[in-house]
């Protein structure tokens, strides 16, 4: 063994050493635990409190969203997971389409959702939203752009004063960016939506891989305004960077965390219990704490009775719910289009 002794009820790291755990397929495991495939940063804290509460141990598999989806799909005929939790409803929907998610079950506390939250539940109830962020909002550098000149809406970024100084992420790389693109197309209509991005490109749009790169370009002054996930902007602002956030008036595409249960789960009860726990105010109160979720904690709660993080602006936002089914179907094609005509 590798020397760590098991301390029941503590974190995942103190599970028995690899050698100690015999080659038992998870499907036959009778122990009181279940497996969580997760790409959210809240995982450890929630697992811990859940364990304390229910004495059910959570086996966490925390890997990047892409790997997570690939793994779930590779396991499709013999799944090893009980609960999956990651951002991106479209990806979840694509798994759902293959019949990999438990449908038609609702958590006992489903009524606790805010109205916004309820909107987001798919009709077949294959997965549930856990928290909401803006797939993209506008951030500008307060040193470079005066408050009066600040963009108010997406279309403001086409103005000549933002020529060659707007940036966004590449949707093929950055998870949150696809809902943004899909949402824009949904809102403007496909042709106009594509035209919007082409116009942006004509105005000198830059694309970077992920949030931090794009944010960095803003902070260093290489760009004046960027379109990235709002939590990243809020996080930067909280740290004192010269950044201001703008939720465009015409509508902000949503990106929300989704959680689902495997229909083949052998610990269905525990899995369901965990989902209900995540949707409980008790768990959500931990999630809004930046010490637990770091940047992700600046999300918009959709559970009643949960205060959002004080750093998040209280202003009213016009949310745009991206059609998950359509978005999922068009995902590959749209990403390819974006990559071929905007990134290139």
């Amino acid at each position: 063994g590798c020397g760590t002794t098991a301390k029941p009820g503590t974190d995942t790291a103190s599970t028995p050493a690899p050698q100690a755990q015999a080659a038992q397929p998870a499907a036959e495991s009778a122990s009181k635990d279940f497996t969580l495939y997760v790409a959210e940063s809240f995982d450890k804290a929630l697992a811990k409190s859940f364990e304390e509460k229910t004495k059910i141990k959570v086996n966490i598999v925390h890997i990047a969203t892409g790997d997570l989806i690939a793994k779930i799909q590779a396991e499709r005929n013999n799944p090893h997971w009980d609960v999956a939790w990651f951002d991106g409803a479209t990806s979840m929907q694509s798994l759902n389409k293959q019949g990999l998610l438990l449908k038609d079950w609702s958590p006992a506390n489903v009524s606790n959702y805010t109205s916004l939250g309820k909107e987001l539940i798919p009709s077949d109830r294959a997965f549930f939203p856990t928290h909401v962020t803006a797939a993209a909002a506008i951030a500008y550098n307060t040193n470079a752009v005066k408050k009066e000149q600040a963009p108010k809406d997406w279309s403001d970024l086409l103005k000549p004063e933002f020529k060659n100084s707007v940036a966004m992420n590449d949707p093929s790389v950055s998870g949150p960016t696809y809902p943004f693109v899909a949402g824009m197309l949904q809102q403007l209509g496909e042709a106009k939506g594509k035209q919007f991005f082409q116009d942006l490109k004509a105005n000198g749009l830059k694309t970077f891989p992920k949030n931090p790169n794009t944010l960095q370009s803003l902070l260093t002054g290489a760009t004046k305004a960027i379109m990235i996930q709002d939590t990243a902007i809020l996080n930067s602002k909280t740290k004192g960077d010269p950044v201001e956030i703008v939720y465009p008036a015409s509508g902000v595409p949503m990106l929300y965390g989704t959680i689902a249960v495997s229909p083949k789960s052998s610990r269905m009860d525990a899995a369901k219990q965990f989902v209900e726990y995540v949707l409980s105010p008790e768990a959500q109160k931990q999630m809004v704490d930046p010490k637990v979720g770091e940047a992700d904690s600046y999300y918009l709660p959709i559970i009643q009775g949960v205060e959002m993080s004080p750093q998040r602006p209280t202003q009213e936002v016009k949310w745009l719910n991206v059609d998950v089914i359509k978005g999922s179907e068009a995902e590959n094609e749209l990403k390819k289009w974006f990559h071929d005509s905007i990134v290139q």
């Binding site: 590798c2 020397g3 760590t4 503590t10 974190d11 995942t12 790291a13 103190s14 599970t15 050493a17 690899p18 050698q19 755990q21 015999a22 080659a23 397929p25 499907a27 497996t35 969580l36 450890k44 086996n59 966490i60 598999v61 925390h62 890997i63 990047a64 892409g66 790997d67 989806i69 690939a70 793994k71 799909q73 590779a74 396991e75 499709r76 005929n77 013999n78 090893h80 694509s94 798994l95 019949g99 590449d170 093929s172 694309t207 970077f208 992920k210 790169n213 960095q216 370009s217 902070l219 260093t220 002054g221 290489a222 740290k239 770091e294 995902e331 590959n332 990403k335 390819k336 290139q344």
Partner: protein
Amino acid sequence: MSLKARKLKMSSRSGSMTALYNKSKRLLNRWSVQGLGSLPGLLLMAVLILYPLASLLLQAVFPHLFDMEMSWEPSLTSIAAVLTDRTNLIAVMNSAITGVCAAVVATLLGTLTAYAAWKSDGKVKACLQLSVWLLFFSPSYLIAQGWIIFMQNGGIAVQLFGLQAGWSDWFFSRFGLILVMGFRYFPFVHLSMSQAFAQLGEEYIRAGRMLGANKRVLFTWIVFPLLTPAWMAGASIAFAEGFGDFGMAAAITPHSHVPTITYRIYTALNQAPVNYPDASVLSAIVLIVTALALWLQFRWMKRSSYTLVSTHTKPMESKGPAWGAVWTSYAILLFAVLLPFGSTLTVSLWKTWSGGIAGSNWTLAHYAALLDTDGEVLAAIMRSLAYALVVAAATLVLGLMISFQMTFFQNKINKAMDTIILSTMAIPGVVLAAGFVFAWNATWLIPLHLVLYGTPVCLALAYMASALPYSVRLQLGAMSQLSGNLLTAAQVLGARKTRVLRVIVLPLIRMTVMSSFVLTFIHTFFELPASAMLYPAGQPPLPVAIAARFNSFDWPAGSAMAVEGMAVLILIYLLTHRWLRKPDGRKEAADNRIKRETAPLQTAERTRQTLHL
């Protein structure tokens, strides 16, 4: 007569000696009754590599093989789709161009460092060799991260030198990728060139000088053509690596606007809906192209059979190191080793990434996390350590047995093994790992209680699968240097196979055995793709933990873990190194037919060990 001189003389005099060894090796055939001895090795290969690989590649033709309801219904749509997509063609071209350019850069750098190492001795040489080996062993994703940390807007370079933001845009492009790849892969060229320089033979040059040739003529007519095979060997491996590179391209140039073939695989595997049939067709393309490159190079080497004629090289009359080359090499190594690792180390000492180099931002907190109460970091390190130890030991034993069988008993099975081993080296790690998921999670294994997927055993097997070919080739190289008579002598005295392996072969190739152990150890310790895909729930090994930090842009914490990992390795290296240097009478394993160093060319034959994302 000095012993050394006599030995040299002996080896030169009997040119027929090697032929003799080969003969006696052939004569040992009798030992393996119809090649039965090779069967266990083949079986192992099948379980470790062929079965998982087939599980994935078969999906190109049978896309529903692993559906909820398994079906052997064939479909060529994936193949047709992949092959008819123009972007794929462009991607292949892009990868080829990147690979070729990276190979050129690597060749230039590797030749220079090899030359410097050849021309120098003592501490200078040791320093050069050590740095190259360090780089050779380093996991690519760490190096890539190091470069990114340094070059990025707001990265260390900008802060250190007060550079304009955006100065490094050129770097995050194909150009930068080629540069980083060149700096990453030049050790392959270095190793094969070192060998070539050592074999070059002072007489070849002297003979030219005696005929009035000046330096230019000597170089263009004699040195250059004689070095060409080694160049080809090193460059073709650098090409193969560059072509099949997974992590570096993903890390450095995702927005380079140049799709590469591996990028296409990445998309197929990492974007919903994941398309395994497409991924397997694309992987097959990578496999074919890299195998083709290596095959062409082997063929070329064979055609110019003179490369196999080794000459009697007299020791150089040392006129001191070529300082120009040495300093240039130091500069290269500074870029290749110090820059990425230095950046990683620096960042690991920052409180936050955005805090930068400012005085208040320095902290040891990330290292203190090692001793955290929850012990997550420590546990991950211990876990990886355990995996690495077990896998390295098992790989070593199996690798020894297989290579022993392959070297001294030639039959059809062994020839097949050779092909399997060579070709598996061209498989991206992610692909092999995905294959493992399908192979060891298949429904037909459930009644057999053999669903290994999700257990530590499965992960360990995957580690072994990616390390074994490597280990076998390394030991094949060392064993081929052994005189068959050394074994025959033992056999005639009544020793059986296991005893010969244990008492004669093992001690004689001890250095190679140790270095292959270390190699597997390091490889396993930092292996990412298989770890991410296969780690048992709740028990993340170190690379997964590091990658998680990097993925959430917590560079300081991730870097600190990487540094801790490296520190563990260095510690182990120092311990084993000490132990290896233990003075004993065996120093003379270098008795002229047995090379003390592992045959670098064979080492360099390592292909496609994708350690990255």
